[in-house]
Each structure stands twice: as structure tokens, then as C-alpha cells.
Amino acid sequence: MSIYLPIAELSVNAFIILGMGAAVGFLSGMFGVGGGFLITPLLIFYNIPPAVAVATGANQVVASSFSGALSHFRRGTLDIKLGLTLLGGGLVGASVGIYLFTLLRNLGQLDLIISLFYVVFLSVIGGLMLVESINALRRAAANKPVSLRKPGQHNWVHRLPFKMRFKRSKIYLSVIPVIVLGFGVGVLTSIMGVGGGFIMVPAMIYLLHVPTNVVIGTSLFQIIFVTAFTTIVQATTNQSVDIFLAGLLMIAGVVGAQYGVRVGQQLRGEQLRALLAIIVLAVGIRLAIGLVVTPDELYSVITTKEGF
């Protein structure tokens, strides 16, 4: 069934889009990630213009993060104060990111930068995750205790000024690294169309030493607002949010996520992380190949504003 996307201005097969949404939803439910970092590259592989893919990806993440954050809120595994502090940096970062997005689009380098960002972040995060999970799997095989966080161990982050107490997380921490982290992830949200959970979660665990049980809920909480903000600003400045496309992705994604959660519960944490790492690396490599291989067509044409 072919359907015309009014903003992307092309016809696509609705079942392929629903399939993509369901598959990514499944993975996001399984691994507890937003899935934006998979949706956007998939849409680009399917010839959706990168600008539309990024803006629509951000819109889709609003749905998945809202759904996830609600259940964390009910369980009380969400630190609103920490979330709001992250959000402060996040909104500024997203604004800067959208400015860069528009600038790069006008320069004709947007597609390249989107791909480069994806290649760099997916390879680094995927690589680190793979190494970490393989080590954890080895330790588990050798029956040694697995510990992600070593309480009491402080790093340079904890010597910074402007400290604040975050009750729910039971940490006493400078607001500087929190805001900087929020800012950085905000920039990525608007340029890559991701929620940024795949950077936010490890950074909160390893850098800020936030307890693991509140990390995902809090990260999702702030992702809702940053992606919602990004969606609105992208819609206003670049008119690149395709509501049809986003709607199809969301519906399939929400359903897919439920089945993913069930499968995820039957796998062990290290196995899940290793699997996710492999998927992340595969997407990164696929994008890297696209940058290096000689393209079939060297020229590209874009029509801009109306003339006479």
C-alpha cells in the first residue's frame, strides 16, 4: 500500500514504514532505549531526505520516551529535579543544534554531517559497549561478581563547584557537569534526531555516578521535553517534520516495544548489551561505507524557493 508523505513529498510503502517502526520499537523495548538512533538511519537508507528523517525521528522519540517515562514515574524511578537540571542544558543545546542544522542545510553539508555524527557516535558507543559487555560476560562465566558502579569512588566531576543535592538519586553533585551533559545531548537531538539515551545513560552511570535504578527514568523524562522542543522548533524553522511518517512509526513502535520488553526480560543484562552493541556497530559501519564508497551519482539537485 503506497502512501504519499506530504512533507517528505514522496510516496512510500506504508507497510515498510510500519515494519521499520515495529522492528525499532521491538528493539527499543528490549533494550530500554528510545530507538531514535536506529529510526533515523533506517529512514535515510529508505531514501527519506535526511532533514525530514532527523526531524521526524525526534518526533517519534517523543512518543517512545513519553510511554517509557510514564511507567518509570509510576514506579518512582524518576528524579525530577535531576531531570529538570539536565533539561535546562538540553533546551539550550537543542537550540544551538537547530541553528547549526539550518546553517549546514543551507551550505549543503547537512547530509554529510548527519552521517559523520552517526558514524562517530555509533562506532564509539557500540565499541565501548561491546568491550564492556564481553568483559562482563567473561566475568559471569568465571562466576566473579559483576559490579557496574563502585560507590564511594570519586572522580574529577565531584570536585566541581555549585553543588546541589538530588534527593531521589541520593547524590550531592555539581550542576556544571549535569548542565553540560544536557547541553551536549541537546545538540545531538536536533542534529541527529535521537533522544540521546545511548549517551545520556552511560554518562550518568559512569561520570555522574547516578544510581542505575533512576538513570533510565530520569533520562527518558528529560528526553521527552528536549525532543518535543526540537520537534516544535524543527517544524517552525525547517518545516521538516512529517506527521504522517511520524504517526506510522509511532503506532508501530509502541506496539513493537511491548513485545520487545517481554523478550528483553528473558535475556541477561550483559547479553542484551552485547546484542545492542552489535546492532549499533552494524548501523555505524553501514553509514561509514556509504561515506567512503564512490557514489553512483556525483551530482545532486535541490529546488529551493519559488521564483517567477
Binding site: Y4, L10, N59, L70, S71, L112, L116, I243, Y299, V301
Partner: protein
């Protein structure tokens, strides 16, 4: 032999005279065209369409008509839009858009249909002067183009890409006479036809010379939900953004309620 030659010459002369007289007396051939609609609606399953243009050729000289001396070209020009052509180059092993050329507004789509291949109808200079045919669409680079040596390269690339995607196309034998004075032109509209005001131009050529031109306007619009969304996204962008977020939150909330486990 000699007599036969003289008679032949005489016949030829009278024929030429007759043709010339006919040409002079019937100088007021009229071309008229009509289309069943002046608006084409693009729905969500639009996969391209054929536009049939009917036309009448009045006061045509029957002799010239029989000799096939009248030729008709019908072209649909899309709305003029500014275009940027970019060329990739390898930099540090990565393919990036390195060169760009901006062209002044030119038709964003072009469909042509004619009785004969257009270069057999009249001369290049005539076609070029009246901007008939894909290769005669005016593409003028704007901004700094250096010494201009790259202009043909970018222009060729632009035309080639648009022909490949079907947004520029021509059908050399798409106009046919259904009676001595009525003709039918079939224009292929591509699936990715740009919305906006299109110009339908019909040209009459007599004995390879331009005789007259008729123009009609044709609007291509998106219909139904698609148009509503497109207009909302462009005219009420902020509201549209809010709507997109509300839709996402609703979907997310429904998902967490419907599949609630805790």
C-alpha cells in the same frame, strides 16, 4: 523529352504558385486548445497521470494539411523555482558535496509532446528563442561562477538528472490528428510533479515556420488531508509542531495504558 520537361516545369511552377497563394490567403490559421480541467489534484496515491489536451486547427490550408506541413508542439512548464546543483568530491577518503552552482528560477518540471521530434519541426534558433524543448530551458547560473568553465557541466548534470527522474520529459510523437482539424496531445505528468501554477503552451508551426502560440494556465494542487497537512506545516508551523508533539504524547500514553503491566 524537352516538351515533357517544360510541361513538368510548368506544373511545378503552378504548384508552387498555388501553395504560395494558399499560404498568403490562409495566413490566419488559428490554433485553439482546451483541457477538461484547469486544476489537477494530487491524492495520496498519485503515481503520475496523462494529461490529454485537445486542440483545433482552424482555417488550415487543406493542401498543406495533406502534405503534413503543419506541426504542433504542446508543452507543460512547471512553476519556476531556483535550483542548486551540487557535485561530490572525495576529500580525505570521504565523499562530500564540494562544488555547487545556483541557477535562477526555471521550470521545475517540463513535459513536451509534438507531432514530430522537435528538431525536425524547426530550427534550433527558433526553438531556443521560444524556449521549446528540454535542452532549451533557460538555465542561467546566478552568483559567482568563476570563469564559467564549469557551467556546461553543471547544466548538463541538472538536465540529465531531471530527465532521468522523469520530471523533464518529451514525447516526440505524442500529438496526433484525430480529424483534419482536430488534434489530441498526450502529456505525461510524473508522480513527483511540483505543485503550483503550471503553464500549458501550444505552438503551431507551418512549413517549419512559427505561426502562433496559445497558452493556458493549469494548477496542480495537493488535495484532502495531504494538502491540509502541507499548508498547516508551512503556514501554521508552530501549531503544526505542537500538534506533532501532542500526537506523539497521545500515542505514547495510549501505549503505556493499553499495555500496562504494573
Amino acid at each position: 523529352m524537352r516538351l515533357a520537361g517544360r510541361i513538368y516545369d510548368l506544373l511545378l511552377a503552378s504548384l508552387v504558385l498555388a501553395v504560395a497563394c494558399a499560404g498568403a490567403s490562409a495566413a490566419n490559421e488559428r490554433l485553439d486548445i482546451g483541457i477538461s480541467t484547469n486544476e489537477i489534484a494530487i491524492t495520496s496515491d498519485f503515481a503520475g497521470a496523462d494529461l490529454i489536451v485537445f486542440g483545433a486547427l482552424d482555417n488550415a490550408d487543406p493542401l498543406l494539411l495533406q502534405l503534413g506541413q503543419y506541426d504542433i508542439i504542446v508543452a507543460l512548464e512547471g512553476p519556476a523555482k531556483e535550483t542548486i546543483v551540487r557535485k561530490k568530491d572525495r576529500v580525505f577518503g570521504i565523499w562530500i558535496n564540494r562544488y555547487a552552482m545556483r541557477f535562477e528560477p526555471a521550470p521545475a518540471s517540463y513535459s513536451l509532446s509534438s507531432t514530430l521530434p522537435i528538431n525536425r519541426i524547426t530550427q534550433q534558433i527558433e526553438l531556443s528563442g521560444r524556449t521549446i524543448g528540454i535542452e532549451h530551458i533557460h538555465l542561467t547560473p546566478s552568483g559567482n561562477v568563476g570563469d564559467g568553465s564549469r557551467v556546461p557541466e553543471f547544466k548538463d548534470a541538472l538536465l540529465r538528472l531531471r530527465v532521468e527522474s522523469g520530471i523533464y520529459q518529451s514525447e516526440p510523437v505524442g500529438v496526433e490528428f484525430v480529424s483534419s482539424s482536430l488534434f489530441r496531445a498526450t502529456l505525461r505528468l510524473p508522480a513527483n510533479i511540483p505543485v503550483g501554477e503550471h503553464k500549458l503552451r501550444a505552438f503551431l508551426f507551418k512549413s517549419n515556420e512559427f505561426a502562433m502560440e496559445r497558452d493556458l494556465r493549469l494548477r496542480v494542487v495537493k488535495t484532502g488531508v495531504e494538502q491540509f497537512i502541507f499548508e498547516l506545516a508551512h503556514q501554521q508551523a508552530f501549531l503544526y509542531g505542537l500538534l506533532a508533539v501532542a500526537l506523539a504524547m497521545l500515542t505514547g500514553w495510549l501505549g503505556s495504558v493499553v499495555f500496562r503491566k504494573d
